[in-house]
Symmetry: none
Subunit: 401 residues, 2 copies
């Protein structure tokens, strides 16, 4: 569905929607277990909610497609992730709260190791410390390029952010990162005519970076990828008519929410801190995005027991959310991260949507297997969920006479 359909139907109301996203919640049976982590976890509160809700599983991007966290979250916020693609450079900036202006081109950088012939031998420079990274970023930040400001910021370990700020810049520039060892760093090239000026500046930056870094082995060179300008997307407020609050401890999710015009609330990264922030923000917003990260981290670590534990911990906060008296409570994940795979996967993601007018189905357990037979179906597009939440919150007008 095109966003402008909803934009034309949006309606003001005083209702409140909570979208609780347990990152990577979907899973698979693990080793000798017959159950997924969600099936194994004792979740009396989620199960009670499921019994009163309409349930199903959503597909974040499309059949068989394993989504990154960015596209998966865009879909949950109602934006088609195939159409709204965000460059790595922009996500890197979001992740460290670097505010991009409309004059900026951002890129994700890696410090790397090259040998005496200039060939990349380690794309991550032995994962140097974040402290060393910060020192090197200060050196690179002194590079002067004609007509543009150069900003270099450390991210974590070998990762950094490069921002060029100036007139007539464009993100249509190819990566200098060859994405493999045994190759030289690539020359940046314009992928569209508008990228020529930027590509020239990037190549000059890389030449200077090589000179500056040459005695800093193993971090004796830098690789750049994902050049992008900050996208000018319609905000959630404009499209859906909601004032959104993002409650997320991790930078990437905060950054993404900000790109869509949500207000990012100050919070910690523990469940306790996040749910306290939800309570304290309650009177000021219509839509609350609450992000639980550790279900995904546990999945990526292959730690089934820890994933079960995080789910059970989260379940204990459900009564507190309900006490806030939301009009709509939507619980899901952005994608699946089975501990059995230690990675994101394409598997559809359990979802429940509760409201006083949700039309409950027969599902009474919040699990992958039970949700297959829910009223939302086993493969609803993730982009349909926010519109459904809005309808349940009586925030969409009738279409047509």
């Amino acid at each position: 569905m095109e966003l402008n359909v909803y934009e034309q139907l949006k309606k003001t109301n005083t209702t409140k929607i909570v979208m609780l996203v347990m990152d990577g919640i979907g899973g698979l049976p693990f080793q000798s277990e017959k159950s997924t982590a969600l099936e194994r976890a004792r979740t009396p509160n989620l199960d009670r909610l499921a019994a009163e809700a309409i349930c199903g599983l959503h597909e974040p991007v499309g059949p068989g497609i394993t989504p990154g966290s960015g596209p998966a979250h865009l879909a949950l916020f109602g934006y088609d992730p195939l159409r709204y693609q965000v460059g790595r450079g922009v996500l890197a900036a979001s992740g460290i709260n670097f505010d991009l202006t409309s004059d900026d081109v951002a890129a994700r950088g890696n410090f790397c190791t090259v040998d005496e012939k200039g060939i990349v031998t380690d794309r991550r420079a032995g994962r140097i410390s974040t402290e060393k990274n910060a020192q090197l970023c200060e050196l690179l930040g002194d590079i002067e390029l004609p007509g543009v400001e150069v900003h270099v910021r450390p991210v974590k370990e070998h990762r950094f952010l490069l921002v060029l700020r100036g007139k007539d810049l464009c993100g249509a520039v190819s990566d200098t990162d060859p994405q493999e060892t045994g190759a030289r760093p690539l020359e940046a090239e314009a992928t569209e005519p508008c990228g020529r000026k930027s590509a020239g500046l990037v190549n000059e930056f890389c030449r200077r970076a090589r000179e500056i870094l040459k005695d800093h082995h193993p971090a004796n060179m830098a690789l750049l990828r994902g050049f992008a300008k900050c996208p000018q997307w319609p905000s959630m407020s404009r499209v859906f008519g909601i004032r959104g609050a993002a409650i997320a401890g991790y930078p990437m999710y905060r950054g993404l929410a900000k790109l869509l015009g949500m207000e990012v609330r100050e919070t910690g990264s523990s469940l306790e801190e996040e749910f306290a922030t939800l309570s304290s923000s309650w009177s000021d917003y219509d839509f609350f995005y609450v992000h639980v990260k550790k279900t995904d981290s546990a999945g990526e670590d292959g730690n089934f027991a820890h994933k079960v534990d995080v789910i059970e911990q989260t379940d204990r906060y459900i009564p507190g959310i309900r006490e806030l008296n939301p009009d709509v409570l939507l619980v899901t994940g952005d994608h699946s991260t089975p501990a059995a795979m230690k990675y994101h996967s394409w598997h559809p993601v359990p979802v429940l949507l509760w409201s006083r007018c949700c039309r409950p189905d027969a599902v009474a357990v919040f699990s992958e297997k039970a949700c297959v037979n829910g009223g939302l179906g086993p493969r609803i597009s993730a982009t349909a969920l926010l519109p459904l939440a809005l309808a349940n919150a009586e925030r969409l007008e009738k279409f047509g006479a």
Copy 2:
């Protein structure tokens, strides 16, 4: 989903996928039977596989659309059959292993009967023998047209293939077959400007054909339809990164697979021969399309008992397939052919997808009724199945960061 999304995500791997297509497998309760043929058949091996698999029903083209075998197979191979349309002429050529070049325009021909006024009285010339057909094709093959080669080949009974080979030909030519008796053969017309030259040649061919055939009653005229050039489609290898083997006894399916760049393996048309070919081809390919024809033929003949029998026979080969140790095993049909209707139908088609990471649902019987409650849902697009198989074979990269 656009094919280029998958093309950009495809990943090399050593995993192997088997797609077993039981043509026309879907059905309806037959006469006093309460069951479909698939429900009636004893299929212990398919049922066991279903219990370990994710199941559902797929819709080959769209709601209510009864597909021909060509579009239905294209969808199973991941190609949107509304976008990738193949002319009958090209299918006719594929069906008899006539290799079309990029200079060729092909048409499906019928020998027919016309009366003394030139009006068609039988569009199939009393279904003349294939031997008679071959003699007449030799005569028509002697027709000389300016600047083009003329190839005429018998197919079966009254059906033949016409190929014009030369420069600047185009398939934008209307049929000469009026598709009814009581009418004259039509003049071919260009449906786009590029078809003018071809239309002129076709009309000249038809005039000569009428002279040559005039004393060969009942086959005293020829009708042509489905003019088309061989489509230049992206191959499955390019789009999905798989080296495919087609194991199909019947020519049409072999031809279609070839159009998509699969290698057609020499085989017979019995189940035994096809599964032996699967085994002997195992080390050389990534993707194996195995086609079982007789489920469809039995349905078209209204022979419920025979359809049950073919399904039971096929079931016995499942353990042998599993012994080959495929990473993904997908079992389905291209469309439904209920014996009760004696024809293809629009009804969704049972499908099961097994892999070590398929996330099994609660379905433990491979049948129309049971698959309704499967994790793939009761109406998944057929074009989603190959991408899902690729994901399960870990042959797709993550989308986005």
